[in-house]
């Protein structure tokens, strides 16, 4: 244990070093030298340290790797956001602080997960209700009607539904794997997906759909369910391509963005230029062109990250995500508690699909559908939700003895 904690301390120190260098560079980049970025960097270091110590005190360390790696992702995200838009960075700073707090709260709360999870009907119903309310009162921002605005503050209910969805799914499937249960659960997932589809939030709909499939497969172990899922997905994709013009636009922009660069292909082409411009080593922090990239602090943040830090750092970021998810799967495999296994696998898969869909989207590997990049993209709902999910993962990874 002593060896491991020395290892974590070294990681923590490298994180501090990384943040100090990046934010110092941002300070030096301006003439006259502007100390504000450095203050923000030191502030983030302080927050991370407080979070780390708090968890030590309450013996909530769980898998300390999760905390360190997610903070690295948040840090590099905050650097990029500061570089793109200073005022957004201040808000993002507050949300990261809130996110870390939520992470600790969820880590603590889910020590008692067996109590929390008795109310799956309530969670499921709340999910549907939140999504339904969004359809009725939702505001359209950036092409999707998935925002609720309350007295000037906007948030995305679909983000919070992710948490409810995972808890509800795991606790419902915990002791059910009959066909009729799967049917009931399937219709719940279908409703969620359709409600999101109605909000034109295709990316999020896809995330829920795929996560639903994972839940069913892990609970039943029958390959026939993922198979049915894929068939449904393909049929659904073909049908919506034929019926809905906004689906067609996305798909065509993916197949050949060069047909209409100023219009349909604009986002993806600008994203590819940025990624290409970066090369392996990047143009250097502050030397890229975020002003050419649309939605650069949210959905397309990976593109500017690769432009300025280079593809090697981009690949490192992907590897860090993969590392986080694989750790969660491994800890699910070593557990003997069905609920824990379901919850860990489901949450890791949900975050994995989200990461894959947006990075694959901005690199033209798959059609681009706008979702946030967990921990890195700008956005309160996204940051808090990602940290909540990670908090649950962390809690379930706690040593048996520390419970």
């Amino acid at each position: 244990m002593a060896k491991a904690s020395r290892y974590y301390r070294a990681m923590l120190l490298s994180l501090y070093l990384f943040l100090t260098i990046c934010f110092s560079l941002l300070s030096l980049h301006e003439t006259p030298i502007n100390p504000k970025p450095l203050y923000m960097g030191l502030g983030l270091i302080a927050i991370i340290t407080i979070g780390f110590i708090t968890m030590r005190i309450f013996a909530l360390n769980g898998d300390a790797m999760l905390f360190l790696l997610s903070n690295f992702l948040c840090g590099i995200g905050l650097v990029m956001i500061y570089r793109v838009n200073e005022s957004l960075a201040y808000r993002q700073f507050i949300w990261i602080t809130g996110g870390i707090a939520t992470f600790i709260v969820f880590t603590f709360l889910f020590k008692y997960y067996s109590y929390v999870m008795k109310y799956h009907w309530l969670f499921g119903a709340t999910s549907l209700m939140l999504l339904f309310i969004t359809i009725i009162f939702g505001r359209e921002i950036g092409g999707s009607t998935n925002w609720i605005v309350i007295s000037g503050h906007s948030f995305q209910p679909s983000e919070f539904v992710k948490i409810l969805f995972c808890i509800a799914s795991a606790s419902f499937l915990k002791d059910r794997n009959e066909t009729k249960d799967v049917l009931l659960y399937g219709s719940f997932v279908a409703t969620v997906v359709l409600l999101l589809f109605a909000q034109k939030d295709l990316g999020t709909a896809l995330i829920f759909f795929m996560t639903g499939i994972v839940f069913v497969y892990v609970a039943t172990g029958k390959p026939v369910y993922p198979l049915i899922g894929i068939i449904l997905l393909v049929t659904g994709a073909v049908l919506s391509y034929l019926i809905f013009s906004h689906v067609r636009v996305r798909f065509e922009a993916w197949l050949n963005p060069w047909m209409d660069v100023p219009g349909k292909g604009y986002q993806i082409v600008q994203s590819l230029f940025a990624i290409g411009a970066g090369g392996l080593f990047g143009s250097g922090l502050g030397l890229g062109h975020p002003e050419y990239i649309p939605a650069v602090s949210t959905d397309l943040i990976f593109s500017i990250l690769v432009e300025e830090f280079g593809l090697l750092v981009g690949l490192a970021v992907i590897a860090i995500y993969l590392f986080i998810f694989v750790r969660a799967y491994i800890s699910a495999m070593s557990s003997n508690d069905r609920l824990k296994e379901l919850l860990l696998t489901g949450i890791a898969s949900m975050l994995a699909f989200q990461t894959f869909i947006i990075i694959g989207g901005v690199t033209k590997f798959i059609p681009l559908t706008g979702v946030t990049l967990p921990f890195i993209s700008y956005g309160g709902s996204s940051i808090v939700t990602s940290f909540s999910l990670l908090g649950i993962m962390n809690s379930l990874s706690l040593e048996e003895g520390t419970k």
Binding site: L311, F325, T345, A352
Partner: protein, 461 residues
């Protein structure tokens, strides 16, 4: 359950690995073409950071350079409309064309550079300079050819048959790249289409200059061709379609040699029908028809549609039907004869040098196609010398030098014919191949041959 989770894990790892593999593929195989796109605004940023390289001709004469004009950098072109369509323009507003477009990356020095050198330059604030592009063009020959066209619509291609170097690539009327911003609106919709490089993108019916191809096929496929006599009455009836000879002239009983000299349609229709569609199509392909040419500048593909009827076959053998060729393509056909049966791959960029004059790229000659044997080439060459000595091409005669040539007068529906001339000199050791077209101007022997003569004369002098 453990197995199920393991399978999910494997699926997720596979997803992410394929993403990583794709990104590496993107980085190493797709990135370069992507970055060179005209839509990439970063290139214009680069334009401000880097001093764009110069474009020079084969003798070191500057064609385009970037000069500091007070606080502003300016692109200056020398050579006016004669060379405009080749060198192209570089305008933030209207984009790029010609060499400026095709070699944009090199002119900006965008290839991967030593990162440490780049770092040093950034620190020291040294202005980066792009690479210089050296063309195979001879500016003074280019000028002569442009002036020989004298404002008429048309094109001239001159190349070295032994190496494939393009010596002149003229499209008339041209444009002066210095005035592109001023003249754009006028040129964009002009009937004369000065923005089109006719030499490589103009597709014309080749008329009788195309006869070199059925002639090649006939020499190689029809035994005893040279001993035969053909009868020409001035018009030929093919399945009810009457095809006349030029001006309805009856050439009488002539051999193949004389048929080439006087460009006898009756003889070539005869030969074409005897060869058949397969041979005609195959030989056109061997000379580069229906093939995309990999050239330094974007070219149009010359086409020989497979003749589906006797009438089409007859028309094809005299270069009519729906055959379309670029002047460059006809120059390549001629160069096969000039170079002992082998067409060298044509090129216009000789090399690229960096700001310190170090050569970073040097073009090597390479064979492109070998459509005919050396002996066939020699036979055709003899006949082409006859064309200029005592046939349709006498206007291309130069005293003291043997010129080989072939004229063409391509009929155009409802308008005057296109005048063609292809040829090379000196016949015994060809230094230069030339192809000339003057649109809607009359007969090849009268209009195009004198243009070719001026170009050959200038180069050999």
């Amino acid at each position: 359950m453990r197995n199920n989770i393991r399978n999910v894990l494997i699926a997720v790892v596979l997803m992410f690995s394929s993403l990583i593999a794709y990104l590496l593929y993107f980085e190493f195989f797709m990135r370069d073409t992507l970055l060179a796109s005209d839509y990439n605004r970063r290139l214009w940023e680069e334009e401000n950071r880097v001093v764009r390289g110069s474009i020079v001709d084969r003798n070191g004469n500057t064609i385009a350079e970037t000069v500091q004009d007070g606080g502003e950098r300016k692109r200056v072109y020398y050579g006016g409309p004669a060379i405009g369509p080749v060198v192209g323009y570089n305008s933030q507003q209207y984009g790029r064309s010609g060499i400026e477009a095709a070699y944009n990356k090199e002119l900006l020095g965008l290839e991967t550079k030593n990162p440490f050198l780049l770092f040093k330059q950034n620190i020291l604030g040294i202005k980066d300079r792009g690479y210089d592009v050296i063309l195979t063009i001879d500016s003074s020959l280019q000028k002569t050819a442009y002036e020989a066209l004298d404002g008429r619509k048309g094109a001239v291609v001159a190349l070295n048959p032994k190496t494939g170097e393009i010596l002149a690539l003229v499209s008339s009327p041209g444009f002066d790249p210095n005035n592109i911003e001023k003249d754009w609106e006028m040129m964009k919709d002009s009937k004369d289409s000065p923005l089109l490089n006719r030499a490589i993108q103009g597709l014309y019916p080749p008329g009788s200059v195309f006869k070199l191809i059925p002639l090649s096929a006939a020499i190689e496929k029809i035994g005893g061709l040279e001993e035969r006599t053909f009868k020409c009455t001035g018009s030929t009836d093919v399945d009810g379609l009457v095809i006349k000879d030029y001006n309805g002239t009856a050439h009488g009983n002539i051999d193949i040699r004389r048929a080439v000299e006087v460009s006898c349609n009756a003889t070539f229709i005869n030969i074409g029908l005897e060869l058949g569609a397969d041979n005609m199509y195959a030989y056109s392909g061997r000379f580069g028809f229906n093939k995309n040419l990999d050239f330094d500048l974007p070219t149009k593909m010359s086409v020989f549609p497979y003749p589906t009827s006797k009438r089409e076959l007859a028309l094809s053998s005299i270069g009519q039907a729906d055959i379309l060729a670029t002047p460059l393509q006809m120059a390549l056909v001629t160069s096969a004869v000039a170079n002992g049966g082998t067409i060298m791959r044509p090129y216009i960029v000789k090399g690229i040098t960096d700001s310190e004059g170090r050569i970073s790229y040097n073009r090597q000659d390479e064979p492109y196609l070998s459509p005919i044997t050396e002996s066939t080439a020699a036979k055709i060459k003899e006949m082409m010398i006859g064309v200029v000595k005592n046939g349709t091409g006498t206007a291309a005669k130069i005293s003291g030098v043997d010129v080989a040539g072939k004229t063409g007068t391509a009929e155009v529906e409802g308008k005057k014919s296109h005048a063609w001339f292809v040829g090379f000199a000196p016949a015994d050791d060809p230094q230069i191949v030339v192809a000339v077209i003057v649109e809607n101007s009359g007969s090849g022997g009268q209009v195009a041959a004198p243009v070719a003569k001026q170009v050959l004369n200038k180069y050999l002098k």
